[in-house]
């Protein structure tokens, strides 16, 4: 009986190969959305988990889009990483829960993802929170 190591497993990830049809299709969709945004400011979002990606496609897409100037980390119900790719207006958002499991994997075409902006409901609590922290500091120093 041959061992597991004798099975000639070939890993399918074609790192460094030319982009596959699926990656090019997504890139084309991103281009359409960018043009639409430039025309009438309409943001768009692509849910990567709704697409049939072959092994290696995800990494190929990431390599194709590259990294830009902005990257942010969000700590809300678990960590999320948000960064602008090398293509201005194309943002990549990865949401994870408190157990670091993947919740959502999105590409957004916009000038700034909504989730980065402060929400008005939270802003309304701002003054109250500031006062509470001032009183807290005062109580400590006394």
């Amino acid at each position: 009986m041959s061992g597991l190591q004798d099975i000639g497993v070939r890993v399918e990830e074609g790192a460094g190969d030319e982009p596959t049809a699926q990656v090019l299709a997504i890139a084309s969709e991103i281009e359409q959305h960018l043009k639409a945004f430039l025309k009438d400011g309409q943001s768009a979002s692509i849910d990567l988990r709704s697409l049939p990606l072959a092994p290696g496609d995800y990494q190929a897409l990431k390599a194709l889009l590259g990294e830009g100037e902005v990257s942010a980390r969000l700590d809300a119900l678990g960590p999320s990483t948000i960064y602008e790719t090398a293509i201005p207006g194309v943002w990549w958002l990865v949401h994870r829960n408190a157990s670091d499991e993947l919740m959502a994997d999105l590409i957004e075409i916009t000038d700034c993802p909504d989730i980065l902006k402060t929400q008005i409901e939270d802003l309304r609590d701002g003054p109250e929170r500031l006062h509470a922290r001032i009183e807290q500091q005062a109580a400590i120093t006394q």
Partner: protein, 364 residues
């Protein structure tokens, strides 16, 4: 017991920021396979959603569907049980047992009459008066009929509850049937699969939680958002099928190069499920990607559709079993008929009375 405050009020009470809520909504929208543009609609709906009471009945099943559900991370099973829904009865997951458990079920049914969500996994055996599967001395059939009366909707989780599944396979010794064969007056969502993908189960629940309604269903009662496409139509190996590049055995060159598994018995063309896009184990892979042909486990009677390793076009069962007797029968009947024909011809020739010109002249 179900809470009276909405999900939005509950989250604010727990000090969760609006931004966190939006992240939760984005995750939920993705889970429900909704386009990301609908996150706003999801947020508006979840704001107003109230925690429904959920009763989970396990009948003639292998517990694979519960196992699958507990692998769901999105939302986590804990957040589901304690946060978004009120899971008032579940054999495997609940702490209570015996009479206390049955009492909890009856209490939940009473408190949320007409409004609770009933989840069922496992088929319902009808043979021997239902004696093949009972809980606390009550047959599955009786328990289903009683509990379904006050349910707002029923979700049949897994192929057993949706279509009869494995117990329903030929010769079906326990007389197993699906939920929809017994309950005909309540909306039923069939979440089939053996088991269903974890996030498909929670995605359907999330839809009901968010919008309070049944998602659009196909002719077999399965949510179109997860069962609308066939595996074949979303399979990443489709280019190989289209080019006619098939793996012939499990370890040949074609198999190693990731060619199409159609000749090895893949039921992808006739199977509807989300495996090719949502995938398994948090999006890691799915059977075809691992090199194994699709079994067709989310379709009715997939156990009786011929071998898992015979392709879709191949006949079901052994052809020789009926062809050989047919040849023998044909030969027997054919020879008999042929010989009978020859005999009739010989008799006709023997009976032949030749008519000569002289005979005709004599008569006239």
């Amino acid at each position: 017991m179900a809470e009276l405050e909405t999900l939005g009020e509950q989250l604010r009470r727990q000090g969760i920021s609006r931004r966190s809520f939006l992240k939760f909504c984005a995750a939920t929208a993705s889970l429900m396979a909704l386009p990301p543009g609908m996150v706003g609609a999801v947020a508006a709906a979840l704001e107003k959603a109230r925690r429904p009471s959920v009763i989970w009945l396990s009948f003639q099943e292998c517990t694979g569907c519960t196992e699958s559900l507990t692998r769901s991370h999105s939302p986590t099973i804990e957040s589901l049980i304690f946060g978004a829904i009120s899971l008032d009865y579940h054999h495997t997951l609940q702490a209570a047992s015996g009479h206390a458990a049955e009492a909890a079920r009856e209490q939940a049914m009473h408190d949320a009459d007409g409004k609770y969500l009933l989840l069922v996994d496992g088929s319902i055996p009808l043979g021997e008066g239902g004696a093949y599967s009972t809980i606390a001395g009550i047959t599955n059939l009786q328990m289903l009929e009683d509990t379904a009366k006050g349910a707002a909707a029923i979700v049949a989780v897994g192929s057993c509850a949706a279509f009869g599944g494995l117990p329903h396979a030929d010769p079906n010794p326990t007389g197993a049937v699906a939920v929809s064969d017994i309950i005909t007056d309540k909306p039923i969502i069939n979440v089939s699969g053996c088991p269903p993908i974890p996030t498909v189960i929670t995605g359907v629940l999330a839809h009901y939680l968010t919008f309070g309604s049944i998602p659009p269903l196909d002719e077999l009662g399965r949510p179109l958002m997860f069962f609308g496409d066939s595996i074949h139509d979303r399979c990443y190996r489709r280019p190989f099928y289209d080019k006619g590049l098939f793996a012939k055995t499990f370890d040949d060159e074609g198999a190693r190069d990731g060619w199409c598994l159609y000749e090895l018995g893949c039921k992808g063309p006739t199977t509807h499920n989300a495996c090719a896009t949502v995938k398994w184990n948090e999006g890691t892979s799915f059977p075809i990607e691992s090199g194994h042909p699709c079994l067709g486990c989310s379709e009715p009677d997939f156990w009786d559709a011929g071998s898992f390793y015979n392709p879709v076009p191949a006949p079901i069962g052994d052809t020789a079993k009926w062809a050989a007797p047919a040849v023998v029968a044909g030969a027997a009947v054919g020879v008999a008929a042929g010989l009978y024909g020859r005999k009739r011809k010989a008799d006709a020739q023997a009976r032949r009375e030749p008519l000569t010109v002289k005979d005709m002249e004599d008569k006239s």
